[in-house]
């Protein structure tokens, strides 16, 4: 088992590179924008509606009201088995605020934008996969954005080594798991969250690695959109 894991690391599953990732855009016919993002064996499907009609109390006079629904593969939303009671809500909040930071909501006041994220399979680095799917969903829907973002998960092994885009097992073994949402404009941190404890230097190391990985992901975004538009 251990050797298989090692091989996986060398083959692009870990270390300082990401697991192979791919995406598909516009695969759903009903939503205004949709995207599936697959990171290794973790995959998330995003469906986006909007700018649409807003329900009374949620209406904002100067902004589009963004709502994020994170639906786990099994069980009720916001009660994900692995995350505990508030885990779903906390992630929804993180994804929503990250999207709000890049979405130019002021261009569509008094409207609602709904982002539904359906987890298809979770084999580690779920949050970063959700963030990537959300960003591609926003792009597919053609909503006005100030910049792009991507999610990168980074695990610190017990021996202190860094591991990008860990699998569920690597996440469990890790001393700390950090997830960043990186902005495409200057590579700044839009969102950060951590499991486990680490030192400030380790945090900075992880951040630097995540920023390097983000550049790869943004290149991938550009390539996949080029492919989408080449058919047009």
């Amino acid at each position: 088992m251990a050797t298989a894991e090692e091989e996986e690391d060398g083959g692009g599953g870990g270390g300082c590179c990401l697991r192979p990732f791919s995406c598909e855009q516009g695969l759903l016919s009903r939503p205004d924008g949709s995207a599936a993002f697959i990171q290794g064996d973790t995959s998330v499907l995003a469906g986006l509606y909007g700018p649409g009609e807003v329900k009374g109390s949620k209406e904002l006079p100067d902004q589009a009201a963004l709502e994020v629904l994170l639906r786990p593969k099994v069980g009720l939303p916001a009660v994900t088995p692995r995350l505990g009671r508030g885990g779903g809500a906390q992630r929804e909040q993180l994804i929503r605020r990250t999207c709000e930071a890049v979405l130019l909501g002021a261009l569509h006041p008094r409207t609602a934008v709904t982002l539904v994220l359906q987890v298809l399979s979770d084999i580690g680095s779920l949050l970063s996969c959700c963030l990537n799917a959300a960003c591609l969903g926003l792009l597919d829907a053609g909503l006005p954005l100030a910049s792009l973002f991507c999610g990168v998960t980074c695990a610190l092994r017990p021996d202190g080594r860094l591991l990008l885009d860990p699998t569920a097992r690597q996440e469990q073994e890790a001393r700390a798991v950090l997830t960043f949402a990186i902005d495409s404009a200057d590579g700044k941190v839009l969102a950060a969250t951590a499991k486990g404890s680490c030192s400030a230097e380790e945090l900075q190391q992880c951040l630097a690695a995540a920023q390097r990985a983000a550049a790869t992901i943004f290149r991938f975004y550009r390539d996949s959109l080029r492919r989408k538009y080449s058919k047009w």
């Binding site: 053609g142 909503l143 100030a146 792009l148 404009a185 959109l225 989408k228 538009y229 047009w232």
Partner: protein, 258 residues
């Protein structure tokens, strides 16, 4: 990050992503939005910054994903040329002057409420039809299809439609007759179909006669002699979303052979 600050000219026809910064050619007074009356150069107008772009400093900031388009300096408002982003989108956002197909959802006093696929229903006054007066109300029922254009459309106000032009003529607008078939396509396809000398429309028109209404909100209404013929047109137009020009020609050749 690599694509920060690329010259706008180099990106025309390419895919641009939100956050990209496009640098404009160095015409310092373009930004000053003044006419330059140089002795040698032709009078330069202001540069028009179209959908999907915003000004940021001396350049343009892309806010939508799509293909960058450019139109050379012409007359009118876009005397300095225009840049915009052509993006594939499904959701319609009302724009002033757009011709759209709406569905009447309610009659509320003096106005009809029309669903145009945007975030809010548009209002349509019963006086905004050709020849309509306070006495002579147009015959519009809930559920009718309306082809009209936006008189008011901005983010802060309820959109307002009219079915007459500025001289009070219907010029093709109004209630769309009975029968026919309404369906939805992406906004990008509509723009392609509405482009002058669109190949698809020309090829289809050689098949057999039919009536066609294209709404900028992604709705298409078709009516041919028989239901079967109508559905053939619908299927071809829907498939145009995914077919290349080559594939389309083959499909049409097969049909006209029958």
């Amino acid at each position: 990050m690599a694509a920060r600050g690329v010259p706008a000219e180099a990106c025309v026809g390419q895919v641009v992503l939100p956050g990209d910064v496009l640098l404009l050619p160095a015409h310092p007074d373009e930004d000053a939005e003044r006419l330059r009356l140089g002795a040698s150069a032709a009078p330069r107008g202001r540069l028009l910054c179209g959908p999907g772009l915003r000004r940021s400093g001396a350049g343009l900031l892309v806010t939508k994903c799509g293909l960058l388009r450019h139109r050379q300096a012409g007359g009118g408002a876009a005397a300095g040329g225009a840049f915009w982003v052509d993006s594939q989108q499904k959701r319609y956002v009302p724009v002033k002057g757009d011709h759209v197909i709406g569905i009447v959802t309610a009659k509320a006093g003096d106005v009809f409420k029309v669903d145009v696929g945007g975030s809010e229903q548009a209002s349509l006054s019963y006086l905004a039809f050709e020849g309509a007066t306070k006495r002579n109300r147009p015959n519009v029922q809930v559920g009718d299809l309306i082809y009209g254009q936006f008189l008011v459309a901005n983010k802060d106000m309820e959109p307002e439609m009219v079915c007459i032009d500025s001289s009070g003529r219907a010029s093709g607008m109004g209630v769309i007759g009975q029968d026919g078939f309404l369906f939805k396509v992406s906004l990008g396809l509509i723009r392609k179909l509405l482009a002058p000398k669109c190949e698809i429309i020309q090829e289809l028109s050689q098949l057999y006669p039919f009536e066609l209404v294209l709404g900028m909100n992604g709705r298409i209404w078709v009516k041919a002699k028989t239901v079967q013929q109508t559905l053939i047109i619908v299927n071809i137009l829907e498939a145009c979303e995914y077919m290349t020009a080559e594939q389309r020609k083959q499909a049409l050749a097969k049909l006209s052979g029958n």
